[in-house]
């Protein structure tokens, strides 16, 4: 009865979520907008994005080339109408960010500066030094504080979507402070919960990137699109997985193998260091396998060398990289090459959503990394993601606002029952659970290592089949987990367990989707099927949840408008 009720409820306080919330208020200032986030919004993982956001801002650039680069980068798995809409909106959003105070780096004439980025034919990545995501996130978050219509529920962990008559009417969330389960109802819900890098051991993603929103939607009956498409970034710091931004290569850094050779000449001769991530990551792994990598305590690595750029350029454009090198590796990148190796970085796949973020469930939208609106296809180009969060966050916010302005109110009776159900589930499966002998941490680590091994840069049928079996057994073991924390206050063991539950399920969708795609496209590289197969696989995988072990996979044609698939060489 006394639960909160909103017109639009955003789950997720990252760049996409906050942009959506502001867009909803902009579209209709009378709406009451709620925002649920399991961490304070400024902690969201957008904060760690470094390189920048792509948009056509220069006269010498064109929508056409940005669209083409994106589509080619996606290995023709992007929906071209979506890409075309995206490249037109991106500049507007970049300017909007500027008006909100984002400290974009500037050119001499005071205009927003751009830098080259992998897979982009021209300079079009706007940046705020090498803390672009940090500045963008803090800018939208601080801007959002002026809207009294936006009510935040910080540190509230969404555990379930409320679905009533096949319409989404809110979420159930644990208020971390009190441990209470609350039903937060709304006429529309936008999921913007970010990525799921934490299902891998070696990842650039933060602790909170556990794919919760994808799992929530999946469990509510929405399909997950292209889950086999997992991006590996070529340049992560060994051990920590901290990202060395692609901007380092954009600014002119070299990738060198142990013979001191710019080995990319054998793989992407025309682009060299500015090739797309999937190809460079594969090149690095191939070099490792052929014995041309450095050997370190944390596995093989390559050198990323920026010494020739000079201290002045580094301090102006890559100051955070210097800081990271100094603090986390103990090197000065002005004087020493940076050790790097490929690292899980981004999830192209996600909640099946259309160009306005709408999912097949009425009132349910998705935006940002957790969504798959069809923009990124088989491989996202660096710096398209932050722009995607803005463009499609705003689109989802507007669409939800429109739906909410006309939708009827949410009835309370079924919500009470759903909440009681979920409360019961969480208490009996976790909090009041007795016995159990499996540690959450152990299962999580095994899953992460299995994913690294079975669904990494290169995949094989054997590897993926083995992975599905191991994941199934981890799921069985998950039933026997031990919960040591019985406190209701800030119980991070409970949330870790819920996250692990989500992650195991998402890992399975990845493994099964990858097993079924018997070709190599974008980030999905099958050793047993090294070629792209446009006849059979120029389509999206959509995974639906079933009661059995494996998801039901469905295929949907890629929408092609102006760009016919060609061989993808750089």
């Amino acid at each position: 009865m006394d639960f909160e009720s909103y017109d639009v409820l955003v789950v997720g306080g990252g760049l996409a979520g906050i942009r959506a919330a502001i867009a909803a208020v902009d579209a209709n200032p009378r709406l009451k907008v709620g925002m649920v986030s399991k961490v304070y919004p400024m902690r969201s993982h957008t904060v760690s994005a470094e390189g920048g956001a792509a948009a056509v801002l220069r006269p010498e650039d064109s929508y056409e080339t940005h669209a083409f680069d994106t589509i080619k980068g996606s290995d023709y798995l992007a929906d071209q109408d979506v890409v075309e809409a995206f490249v037109r909106e991106a500049p507007v959003e970049i300017i909007q960010m500027e008006h909100w105070g984002c400290p974009w780096s500037r050119d001499e004439d005071g205009k927003i500066s751009v830098r080259p980025f992998g897979g982009m034919t021209t300079w079009r990545t706007c940046f705020a030094a090498d803390k672009s995501g940090f500045h963008m996130l803090h800018t939208v978050f601080q801007t959002s504080l002026q809207f009294s219509q936006i009510h935040r529920h910080d540190e509230a962990f969404a555990t379930k979507l409320l679905i009533e008559d096949s319409r989404c009417v809110g979420v159930v969330a644990i208020d971390m402070r009190s441990g209470r389960l609350e039903a937060i109802t709304a006429k529309t819900v936008i999921i913007a919960t970010g990525g799921l890098g934490r299902i891998y051991a070696f990842t650039t993603n933060g602790n909170i990137c556990t794919g919760d929103g994808m799992a929530l939607a999946y469990r509510a009956g929405v399909g997950l699109k292209d889950m086999e498409m997992v991006q590996f970034h070529p340049t992560g710091l060994p051990f920590t997985g901290i990202l060395i931004t692609e901007a380092v290569r954009g600014e002119g850094g070299y990738l060198l193998n142990k013979d001191g050779e710019r080995f990319l000449k054998r793989y992407v001769p025309n682009k060299m260091e500015l090739g797309p991530r999937d190809i460079i990551s594969r090149a690095m792994v191939t070099e490792f396998e052929e014995g041309r990598g450095f050997d370190g305590p944390h596995g093989k690595y390559m050198h990323l060398d920026v010494r020739h750029l000079g201290e002045a350029v580094i301090d102006r454009k890559l100051p955070f990289m210097r800081e990271l090198g100094r603090e986390f590796v103990g090197i000065d990148i002005v004087k020493d090459p940076i050790p790097v190796r490929p690292v899980q970085h981004y999830m192209m796949g996600g909640v099946d959503a259309d160009i306005s973020g709408a999912t097949p469930i009425a009132g349910l939208y998705a935006a940002g990394e957790c969504a798959n609106v069809g923009l990124n296809g088989g491989n996202r180009l660096g710096s398209n993601s932050l722009s995607e969060c803005l463009v499609f966050g705003a689109a989802a916010g507007r669409a939800a606002a429109e739906y909410a302005s006309s939708a009827g109110p949410v009835s309370t009776n079924p919500v009470d029952a759903l909440l009681a159900d979920e409360t019961n589930h969480i208490e009996s499966s976790y909090l009041d659970k007795r016995g159990g002998d499996e540690r959450i941490g152990t299962i999580r680590e095994e899953m992460q290592h299995d994913m690294d091994a079975g669904a990494g840069v290169f995949r094989t049928r054997d590897g993926l089949e083995g992975l599905t079996r191991r994941l199934a057994s981890l799921r069985d073991r998950f039933e026997r987990i031990k919960i040591e924390d019985s406190s209701r206050t800030f119980n991070t063991e409970l949330t870790a367990a819920l996250e692990l539950d989500f992650m195991l399920e998402m890992a399975e969708t990845i493994a099964f989707s990858a097993l079924a795609r018997e070709e190599s496209r974008g980030a999905h590289a099958r050793r047993d099927f090294p070629e792209r197969d446009d006849d059979k696989y120029l389509n999206h995988t959509v995974a639906h949840r079933t009661d059995g072990a494996a998801p039901r996979l469905e295929y949907r044609n890629v929408r092609i408008t102006n760009f016919k698939p060609q061989a993808r060489t750089y």
Binding site: G101, K111, S486
Partner: protein, 247 residues
């Protein structure tokens, strides 16, 4: 060689059970030279005691959630290396000057209110239309406020500031730095709206320039500078004949 180990003492507090926080000691393997204090906590949570609660996310010193007291000094646990402490033991406590919610988790709602109170967004007398493109801003103009825009809201400065510890009403270092970040931005015209909050009786005047806030700041924000400059600016606007004029 015997396995290297390190002792970590961490604050435990469950409001439902404990009257006051206490320390619990864990002896854990120090397996890798690159381990940070946060890795030690993660090891404890994953393999020793799942009930230990703390905040963290990025593990790269940018999300601002992992600040704690390490041997009495506020630090980001994700870039405090075990090798700098070993073989001494490490005591990890929640940040000073904040109410403790649970174990190493502090209550930072107070800052969230203060952040909002200083209006941390661009204020303009006249909206600049989106269609007109971007405001022009030179790198020199950015340098004016850059430092103050680097704040990650990690609360180390509040934990270091005794004035805040003695009087929680004090607006404090990070909030003032962020206000100044906007005041100094060439695109902003909101200084007059922010000054009353900065210069009220719980504002900058309370700061007695201990300076420790700037010492502990992991991002070189120098909030102490922001506060002192705000004092001077406010005073000058008042004292100089034309100081109060429009920008």
């Amino acid at each position: 060689m015997a396995e290297k180990r390190i002792t970590v003492r961490a604050t435990r507090f469950d409001p439902a059970k404990d009257k006051a926080p206490r320390l619990q000691s864990y002896d854990i393997p120090f397996a890798d030279e690159s381990m940070v204090v946060l890795d030690a906590l993660n090891h404890i949570k994953a393999h020793v005691d799942g009930s230990l609660s703390y905040r963290w996310s990025c593990r790269m010193g940018i999300c601002g959630s992992c600040g704690m007291m390490i041997n009495g000094i506020p630090k980001l646990t994700c870039n405090a290396f075990l090798r700098d402490y070993w073989p001494r033991s490490i005591t990890v406590e929640p940040l000073n000057n904040f109410p403790i919610v649970r174990d190493l988790v502090i209550d930072m709602e107070d800052f969230m209110h203060k952040l909002k109170s200083i209006k941390p967004w661009i204020i303009r007398k006249q909206e600049y239309p989106l269609g007109a493109g971007e405001h022009r801003q030179t790198m020199d103009q950015i340098d004016e406020f850059r430092q103050f825009s680097e704040c990650i809201n990690c609360m180390l400065c509040y934990a270091a500031c005794p004035v805040y510890g003695l009087n929680n009403e004090f607006l404090g270092p990070a909030a003032t730095a962020l206000a100044r970040r906007y005041d100094l931005d060439s695109r902003d015209q909101g200084i007059k709206e922010r000054l009353p909050v900065l210069a009220n009786s719980e504002g900058v005047w309370e700061c007695s320039f201990v300076g420790e806030c700037s010492v502990v700041c992991p991002k070189g924000v120098d909030p102490a500078k922001a506060i002192q400059q705000t004092k001077l600016d406010t005073t000058m606007r008042f004292v100089l004949p034309y100081g109060n004029r429009e920008e």
